[in-house]
Amino acid sequence: MCAMQPGPGYERKTQAWKAVLTPEEIRRALSRIAHEILERTHGGEGAVLLGIPTRGVPLARRLAERMREFEGSPVAHGSLDVTMHRDDLRLRPARALQRTEIPTDGIDGKTVVLVDDVLYSGRTIRAALEALNDLGRPRGVQLAVLVDRGHRELPIRADYVGKNLPTAQREVVRVLLEETDGEDSVLLGTQGGDER
């Protein structure tokens, strides 16, 4: 299967990659999440989907498209870079910043749905909550992830989950998307070092 190849820019030694989500399964999971968001937000009213770079951004865009298809009205979406709010900045060299694009209406009084590819320690989401704090005061914040792999280090949970994937900490979850990697798939591999 083509999904056995790791994506570009991934050079670490990993023994074997196993596909855990096929393109069809990803498509179905996103459609289900889109329906769930519509249900929970009463037709997507006042919902703003903010993807966390890198792969949360195309996921947010896809969810917004599905929601528009299902309900007929456009859904605000954008991206939220959390780099400057991370708690592990001092552990690694300074990273290049990614785009933050907030819909023109802002987030005040809206229901913000944060979208990310993998939920793991929860630290990225904590940083995202802080970043949101500086941008305005949403009515509520929810979280949608394609994969929840467990091993939370903070009291954070997802409202919408594509797939719950029980993993060991030495395993690596890799999400590939058409927009960033040329194909859709979720891979599970094993490696000695710590990935995140």
Binding site: D81, M84, H85, L89, R90, L91, R92, P93, A94, R95, A96, L97, Q98, R99, T100, E130, N133, D134, L135, G136
Partner: protein, 314 residues
């Protein structure tokens, strides 16, 4: 990996573009309700200024504060420097107080370079004598990219942009830093100055030289006017202010020779009526106010990239 920012000549194209791209993302912070990021919380930035400055010092201070760093301002006036303390002793004193970065301005060329050998923290050159002023060049390049490129176009250098730098090149650290940075970014730089104000070794610089301002204007995308630095002049470099203005000053008549899209820049402070006419400085083509605003974001980017991570990426 570099720890200090002493000269724009030390930056690779990728590093320079990374600084500009980081600044482009940070620019949005200025438009938010809360203009602050927590990134440099607990870090200390010392502004060590041996020379007068308004915009550079306040700009570095604003940049550090927007990133939540602690800022200590030190100016040579009214300090132990007046009692004869050396640069080294002053720097070591400040470092013992926990400075993670020292932003230094000094009348002697090369002072930041010496300083970098003495301290363990990062050193940012905020202007040394007639040598360099790297953050000014970075903010100038950022302003050019912002004004000359189509909206929505991101990243990249300044390939093919024609920049004419005019005036007191001899005493200008801004010109030196800009020449090095702009050529790294792919721009074509032309220097225009009276022969007496052209540096001796200019033949070795990656630039074209001209003494005819009017001939260069129609070919320029950017005209950068330099301040005539009379405080550094030890001899008569030109006969009179009137003569200088007539040959090398930018007035409305000369501005009309520029192409439609061209912009006028000045690092400030300006001598209105000398190198630049007041009507030109206040015209919509002038980016002088934008340059000041961009100064804060570019300096935020530099401080973030130098101090934000475990090891510096510059």
């Amino acid at each position: 990996m570099k720890r200090h920012l002493i000269s724009t000549g030390d930056l690779t194209r990728d590093e320079a573009v990374l600084i500009l791209d980081t600044a482009a993302e940070l620019a949005s912070v200025a438009g938010r309700p809360i203009r602050k990021l927590p990134t440099l919380r607990g870090r200390t930035v010392v502004n060590l200024f041996y020379e007068d400055s308004t915009r550079t010092r306040t700009s570095f201070e604003a940049a550090a504060k927007r990133l939540s760093a602690d800022v200590i301002n030190f100016s040579a006036k009214g300090s132990s420097v007046a009692k004869g303390e050396s640069l080294k002793d002053t720097a070591l004193t400040l470092e013992a107080m926990g400075a993670d970065a020292i932003v230094v301005r000094h009348p002697a060329s090369g002072a930041p370079h010496r300083l970098a050998e003495w301290v363990t923290g990062s050193v940012v050159n905020a202007g040394d004598g007639t040598h360099e002023h790297p953050t000014q060049a970075l903010l100038d390049a950022f302003t050019m990219r912002q004004r000359l490129r189509a909206p929505g176009e991101r990243g990249g250098g300044l390939d093919g942009v024609k920049v004419t730098i005019v005036g007191d090149v001899l005493h200008s650290r801004v010109a030196r830093s800009n020449v090095l940075l702009l050529s790294t970014l792919g721009a074509e730089v032309t220097l225009v100055a009276p022969p007496t104000l052209m540096p001796f070794a200019v033949g070795a610089w990656p630039v074209r030289i001209s003494y005819d301002f009017d001939a260069e204007l129609p070919k320029s995308d950017v005209v950068m006017m330099l301040r005539v630095q009379q405080e550094r002049m030890t001899a008569a470099y030109f006969p009179s202010v009137r003569e200088y203005r007539r040959r090398y000053g930018l007035d409305t008549g000369r501005m009309a020779l520029l192409p439609e899209h061209a912009i006028v820049m000045h690092p400030g402070p300006m001598n209105r009526g000398m190198e630049i006419a007041a009507e030109v400085a206040d015209s919509p083509r002038s980016t002088i106010v934008a340059q000041v605003a961009n100064g804060v974001t570019v300096r935020m980017a530099v401080l973030y990239l130098m101090l934000g991570g475990a090891e510096e990426t510059l």
